[in-house]
Amino acid sequence: MIHLTIDSQEIEVEEGTTILEAARDNDIFIPTLCYHDALEPYAACRLCVVELEGKRGSRLVASCAYPCEEGAVVHTNSEMVRRSRRVTVELLMASGELLPLVRALATELGVPEPRFRLPPDDCILCGLCVRACRDIVGVAAISLVNRGIEKKVGSPFEIASNACIECGTCVLICPTGALKLGDITKEQKDVHHWDSLFDHHSCHICGDHNLEPQFSLDYRSLLGEQPSDEESSEG
């Protein structure tokens, strides 16, 4: 058993319990976005950061992943925490008015009108859908593609995924409702697609002859594949 103090509350927990779990069991609220009981901690949204006192001054740690340590002193809502949370929330709001939780936090922390804007997007890249698809459903039809500010959730080659079983778990678990099954299964390739009427890339020489029918490659489309522009019609 491990003993620690969270917001001046003496708490005893089993070894291996995270600060977040410990707090929840004692009705101490810590905001989270990318956390889900059924999944491994991801520690990406940084809303759940808490102040951990240490020899060399306090520091912030992600409570969803940080294990309770004997004698630890934790503050879940100190000024340090609130300062960082305020910025995080403001940054989250850069891509649009988001889910209730964030809006609630914004008002509570007195976050100003975001001073920085990104193209509107409901996805906050909490990765829940991707992790659920991989770790719960076990098909890994979608993944995080690109990196940095370009990062997004997508299926391979960003066309209909053939691994997707359309179970809807990703949609169910998405906290912002940003994800539609259609995004992953749009134009779900039908086995006969290659013999259907196709629209064409047109020839670069006279612009009139029609080149490769887009769906002549049904087999690949089944593999989440489609003849790509640069492969099919550029000279």
Binding site: S143, V145, R147, P156, E230, E231
Partner: protein, 160 residues
């Protein structure tokens, strides 16, 4: 540009058979080296042979700078934008290449001749600013040298 061959990919993967998932990046690296980009078929085959989800292969292919999903031009132009090169004016050199080739970094000229890329540091800072074309180093670059260099690599089109 070498035409994509299934056999080549088969063999590359087969060489890494025991490495399994751990060798994924090495495999993609070899394919990239062979074709200067990662053909879609190749990614699909790799995922199937190695036995990892295509989505994972795809996210790796899009995560690392060394990989490209777009077909590359005949000549690869790498402009070093490392710190040393930057303070010595790499920006102007890059700018000149962009104007001359009329493409941004990561893009390829419509005639599939040149692909322009930036690279973070080649560790040959003494020569900064550096440009590498098809593996050949050109040190102490200057905007004024760009045109000549491009001509050497067979760029005919007149200045835009």
């Amino acid at each position: 540009m070498a035409n994509f061959s299934v056999k080549v990919v088969d063999d590359i993967v087969n060489d890494h058979r025991d490495g399994a998932e751990g060798s994924l990046i090495s495999i993609l690296g070899e394919i990239q080296e062979r074709y200067h980009y990662l053909p879609r078929d190749a990614l699909i085959l790799v995922s199937q042979w190695v036995g990892v989800p295509l989505s994972q292969v795809y996210s790796i292919a899009t995560f690392y700078n060394a990989f490209s999903l777009k077909r590359q031009g005949r000549h690869l132009v790498h402009v070093c934008t490392g710190t040393a090169c930057h303070v010595r004016g790499a920006a102007q050199v890059l700018d000149r290449f962009q104007r001359r080739l009329e493409i941004r970094p990561g893009e390829t000229t419509p005639d599939w001749e040149f692909t322009l890329e930036t690279v973070n540091c080649l560790g040959a800072c003494a020569l900064g600013p550096i440009t590498v074309i098809d593996g050949e180093y050109f040190g102490q670059m200057a905007a004024s040298r760009v045109d000549k260099l491009l001509k050497e690599f067979g760029m005919e089109r007149e200045k835009a």
